[in-house]
């Protein structure tokens, strides 16, 4: 194309590649000026090969729409929040430019990782179950038979009832939700694949059975019998008799720590490491008969409900409770922790069911249900559905935080069920829409649409795992066994910066008063007459003593580096005795420890007050 000449200038010279444009302007063909000699002999038509102008810069050119990549969909904020590990760390507190830039780059990566994780939601195959009532009906009015009649055959087969004679029963599902273990008070133990209804084993231990619990694989389980705890395998062979766990009432298993937690009838809480067969913690809680015990899946802390309406939280390496929570003014009848480890649900004889936020124990309950009868069992499903039973009657609510009962009578239960006998145990089956109920005379599997998580992660729990996969998974899980010292109220403590709190600093200062200088074994050199003398020797000795004491004080009083990570496991264990639990906040997992993080949740006092407190102690 030809350039339009600016005013006052002559027309620019036409070059060979302008030929095509010239032609279109004048309407008649002009011979193109050819470059090379052999091209001049050419007697054919010219085809225009290059459609674009050579002079034009490449990046100015707009690409054809066909090759353009479709723009990435923007992810809604609530989905991003689900995958986010917390707010970004403010890099303002970082001292050097190098680390500041590093920190900012890291945040960009983390944001990208969150976004990528959120994008994988597109690949999830299943959707959650649901139950919608027709007009002028309520979901609570539907019977189990009606639901079973309206779902597909595979799901309908999940509704079944077992009439058993050795009740009352306790029950457990495996972590992947595939297998079921039943234990009858009068000695009956049965393990089976409840989906295919294939029985693994069934036998009577000829002793009372108080609780049963699967171990890390669905081939082994523990049974708390009259005197001791026994381990059996899938075929019912007795593997172990653990005599160090005696008169156990309640069993629980911490899958990532490989700890079998047991609470016994005289108030002892015990943690047995099933991979090495050692008791990692065993002490008297002073609570008396332990009847209600659940572990918090998000941090591994054991919640024990006492007779006085107090829930206390225990870690195997700390002999006093990490936290105590007064939930009811009367005795407790049941407690449970939701699978996400966010809510604690307690029920008491005061006929109330309360929901507590486990991350913020100082607050009042999030929700209160007032019932006509005290709830004797409560349970929360993966998607936050609450089930509670009162004797033979049980009902479920769609949301843990939806207050119900007589206090809020317009909140109707989601489903109701009246069992034929007293309900003694209840569990939601993981990754299924099923609630297992064990009663005084058997077991019922109830359909509760929308209760289970539809999409499992095969690297965590796989309902369809083969025996080879199971073995592989077992090895990996054993390699990643978390040491029991890391059981703390804040599960991310290990990734945080270990900045000592003011209390710890003051305590360390106070310790200095009780410091004993090491004894010095000094041998005075024998000196000639007139040179030595006991007074001189004593003085020299005192000087040496003072020097060593001073150096010791200096060494101990040196402010422990505020940013150093926990010095030992023991320290982590002591740190967890802090009562308050902050809101979950990413403590910058990637930051090197020497970065001083600006907003620390622990430092909530003003600097002046801190200073005054320190001064008052010194």
């Amino acid at each position: 194309m030809t350039k339009t000449p600016p005013k006052g200038r002559k027309k620019p010279t036409t070059r060979y590649f302008d030929a095509a444009a010239v032609k279109s302007e004048d309407g008649e063909a002009k011979p193109a000026k050819l470059k090379r000699k052999h091209q001049q002999k050419f007697t054919g038509d010219f085809l225009k090969m290059q459609s674009h102008d050579k002079n034009k810069k490449l990046h100015n050119k707009k690409r054809p729409a066909a090759t353009e990549h479709p723009k990435k969909q923007k992810i809604p904020q609530e989905v991003l929040d689900k995958y986010s590990r917390g707010d970004a760390v403010d890099s303002r507190g970082v001292k050097t430019r190098h680390f500041k830039e590093k920190q900012q780059r890291k945040e960009i990566y983390l944001e990208y990782a969150t976004e990528q994780a959120a994008r994988t939601e597109l690949l999830l195959q299943e959707t959650a179950g649901q139950l919608e009532a027709d007009e002028e009906e309520i979901t609570a009015s539907y019977r189990q038979e009606e639901i079973a009649a309206n779902v597909d055959l595979q799901s309908a087969a999940k509704h079944f009832r077992l009439k058993l004679d050795f009740g009352p029963y306790t029950m457990r599902y495996t972590k992947n939700g595939r297998h079921l273990l039943l234990g009858g008070r009068r000695g009956h133990v049965a393990a089976f694949d409840w989906v295919t209804k294939k029985l693994h084993c069934e036998f009577n231990v000829m002793e009372s059975v108080s609780d049963v619990q699967w171990l890390h694989v669905p081939t082994m389980y523990a049974v708390a019998q009259k005197e001791w705890v026994y381990f059996y395998d899938k075929k019912g062979t007795e593997l172990h008799c653990v005599k160090r766990l005696s008169r156990v009432n309640r069993l629980d298993f911490l899958p990532y720590h490989f700890l079998l937690a047991a609470g016994n009838s005289v108030g002892y809480a015990s943690w047995l490491d099933v991979s090495i067969g050692e008791l990692v913690g065993n002490f008297n809680t002073g609570l008396g008969d332990i009847r209600h015990m659940r572990h918090n899946p998000s941090n591994g802390v054991l919640c024990i409900g006492g007779g006085k309406g107090v829930v206390s939280m225990w870690s195997p390496k700390v002999r006093e409770p990490l936290a105590k929570l007064l939930c009811h003014s009367t005795a407790m009848t049941a407690l449970t922790v939701d699978p996400k480890g966010v809510h604690l649900v307690t029920a008491g004889l005061d006929r109330m069911v309360k929901v507590w936020d486990l991350r913020n124990l100082n607050e009042t309950p999030l929700a209160i249900f007032r019932l006509r009868l005290p709830a004797n069992e409560v349970e929360v499903s993966q998607r936050g559905m609450l089930a509670l039973s009162q004797g033979t009657y049980l009902e479920t609510y769609t949301d843990v935080l939806h207050g119900g009962g007589t206090a809020n009578s317009n909140k109707l239960p989601y489903l109701r069920q009246r069992c034929d006998a007293f309900v003694h145990g209840m569990r939601f089956c993981p990754y299924e829409d099923v609630l297992g109920v064990s009663t005084a005379n058997g077991f019922q599997s109830l359909l509760v649409p929308g209760s289970g998580e539809p999409n499992y992660d095969a690297l965590e729990d796989n309902p369809y795992e083969t025996s080879k996969q199971r073995r592989e998974h077992e090895v990996h899980a054993l390699l990643e066994k978390i040491p029991p010292e890391l059981i703390t109220l804040d599960p991310n403590e290990i990734t945080g910066v270990d900045a000592p709190t003011l209390q710890e600093k003051v305590d360390a200062k106070r310790q200095l008063f009780h410091l004993k200088p090491p004894r010095i074994n000094m041998k005075m050199r024998h000196k000639m007459k007139g040179r030595g003398g006991s007074a001189k020797a004593a003085r020299n000795k005192q000087i040496v003593k003072d020097c060593s004491a001073r150096s010791l004080f200096r060494r101990c009083a040196r402010p422990s580096r505020a940013s150093s990570p926990p010095t030992s496991m023991a320290m982590t264990a002591t740190m967890c005795s802090r009562r308050q639990v902050g809101r979950p906040k990413r403590q910058n997992p990637y930051a090197p420890s020497w970065i001083a993080l600006s907003p620390s949740p622990r430092k909530n006092r003003s600097p002046l007050i801190e200073y005054l407190i320190v001064v008052s102690f010194i």
Binding site: Y83, R85, A117, T120, L123, L124, Q125, E126, G129, Q130, L131, E132, A133, D134, E137, E146, I147, N150, V151, D152, S155, Y256, P297, S298, N299, G300, P339, K340, Y431, E432, D433, P449, G452, E453, P454, N455, Y456, D457, A458, L459, P463, Y464, T466, L479, E480, I482, L486, P491, I494, T495, S564, P565, P566, T567, S568, P589, Y590, P592, S593, W594
Partner: protein, 445 residues
């Protein structure tokens, strides 16, 4: 009633035949992955332990020399070729892939002082104690023919080292003077002098190829520009520097191996204070060579060990030693950043992995991904005391341990003494001098 329940079709979750991979549906919801921090910490701990378990850096031993190995020449084009010179004047060319010596010839009377390959790798220059520079072809002679140098240049001065320009056909030798030569001429183009009797080592800057650096026997490091008639600058340290290596990526920095057990990294623009002092050796450091990435360098020492340093850190990241390795004289980092060569007094050339726990051989993508993940974990949790302790732990020979203790004791004693002197003298009379500045005496321009 509208009802839907979770009802999985097993076809979507179970593989059809044994020839297929197992189906592994993922769900990255954080709620399904509890205890992230603690599990990751345990993984990082395991990765660190595995790293130490697999830390077996020694690859092979190349034996053949009949006297101590004095110098190395890296081929600029071929990774599997290395030339070594010995104290008895013999030069050997090694095929590293097959771990054999493919050529050997006696090049000089007395020591071979330096070997340098030409830019294209077709010629090999050696200098020796017999005051000659010999030029050899990279091709081995035909069967039955004798090894003959392509050219022999008689120098008027003693020669101690040689370095070839990275970008043109000139090379430089040092000895009594620093001489710049052209490949085609038998006389030096230029000689540069700065009142020194001996220059031990010479090195061309790899990027700004007109700049040269020499270490002299009067404890100085001299910078030259080959376009100018006079040397540029000189910095004098407290003790003699043995070798000098330029950082190939940040070519304004260089590192010298010093007689006082330390290495010093200098910025050419600011010679008065070194950028970093690298400690940890317990005897004179004899040689230093940079990794092609410029991030790390390797040093050889008279204390019979080879140490690897991060260029920006003052303590070594790794130490290599064997029972049989004697005083290490020369060291080289291969140009693919994977291996380290060390030549020592007891006539052996050793080949080490640059990363002690690296797996050699073909690595499948899944394994590679796993290694990358472990690296990231190790870095993320590196500050945790347990992990740090395991990652830092090295078994060192007893004599090194004893020497370390002794050096620490001496250093402590000096510190105490200095503090006492300071306490009893007038304020400001005994100034605080940083460790960096202590070792640099002066800078001349």
């Amino acid at each position: 009633m509208k009802v839907k329940m979770i009802s999985r079709n097993p076809d979507n979750y179970v593989r059809e035949t044994k020839l297929q991979q197992h189906k592994v549906p993922r769900n990255y919801d954080p709620a399904l992955h509890p205890l992230e921090g603690a599990r990751e910490y345990v993984r990082a701990l395991n990765a660190t332990k595995l790293d130490r378990v697999f830390a077996k850096p020694f690859v092979c031993n190349l034996s053949g020399h009949r006297d101590g190995v004095a110098c190395f020449g890296k081929h600029p084009k071929l990774l599997s070729t290395l030339a070594t010179g010995a104290y008895d004047g013999e030069v050997r060319i090694w095929d590293l892939a097959n771990r054999t010596s493919v050529r050997s010839f006696v090049a000089h009377d007395g020591y071979v002082r330096g070997i340098a390959y030409a830019r294209n790798g077709e010629r090999l220059f050696t200098v020796g104690d017999d005051k000659t520079i010999k030029v050899w072809s990279s091709q081995a002679p035909d069967v039955g023919q004798e090894e003959e140098p392509v050219n022999t240049i008689l120098s008027r001065h003693i020669l101690h080292g040689i370095s070839h320009n990275r970008k043109d056909n000139s090379f430089a030798t040092c000895g009594e003077v620093c001489a710049i030569w052209d490949e085609k001429h038998n006389d030096p183009i230029k000689t540069l002098k700065w009142g020194v009797d001996t220059l031990h080592t010479i090195s061309y800057n790899p990027v700004e190829t007109n700049v040269l650096a020499c270490c002299a026997s009067d404890r100085s490091i001299i910078l030259y520009d080959q376009r100018e008639a006079q040397p540029l600058r000189k910095v004098v340290l407290t003790m003699k520097s043995n070798k000098l290596a330029w950082n190939p990526m940040e070519a304004f920095n260089f590192t010298v191996a010093n007689e006082d057990c330390n290495l010093y990294t200098f910025d050419t623009r600011k010679l008065r204070t070194p950028l970093k002092v690298h400690f940890d050796h317990v005897s004179a450091v004899t040689d230093v060579d940079y990794a092609p990435t410029g991030q790390e360098f390797v040093s050889a020492s008279y204390d019979k060990t080879v140490r690897i340093y991060n260029a920006h850190q003052s303590h070594s990241r790794d130490i290599y030693h064997t029972k049989r390795m004697q005083h290490v004289v020369c060291v080289a980092w291969s140009l693919d950043n994977r291996y380290i060569f060390s030549g020592s007094d007891e006539m052996n050339v050793r080949m080490w992995k640059a990363n002690a726990s690296e797996k050699l051989g073909i690595i499948r993508p899944r394994e590679r991904a796993n290694f990358n993940y472990q690296e990231a974990l190790k870095e993320k949790y590196a500050a945790h005391p347990q992990i740090k302790r395991i990652a830092r732990h090295r078994q060192v020979p007893r004599h090194v341990l004893n020497a370390q203790r002794k050096m620490r004791m001496v250093k402590d004693k000096e510190l105490v003494k200095e503090a006492n002197v300071r306490k009893h003298s007038k304020k400001g009379k005994v100034p605080f001098v940083s460790e960096k500045k202590k070792h640099v005496l002066r800078e001349d321009v």
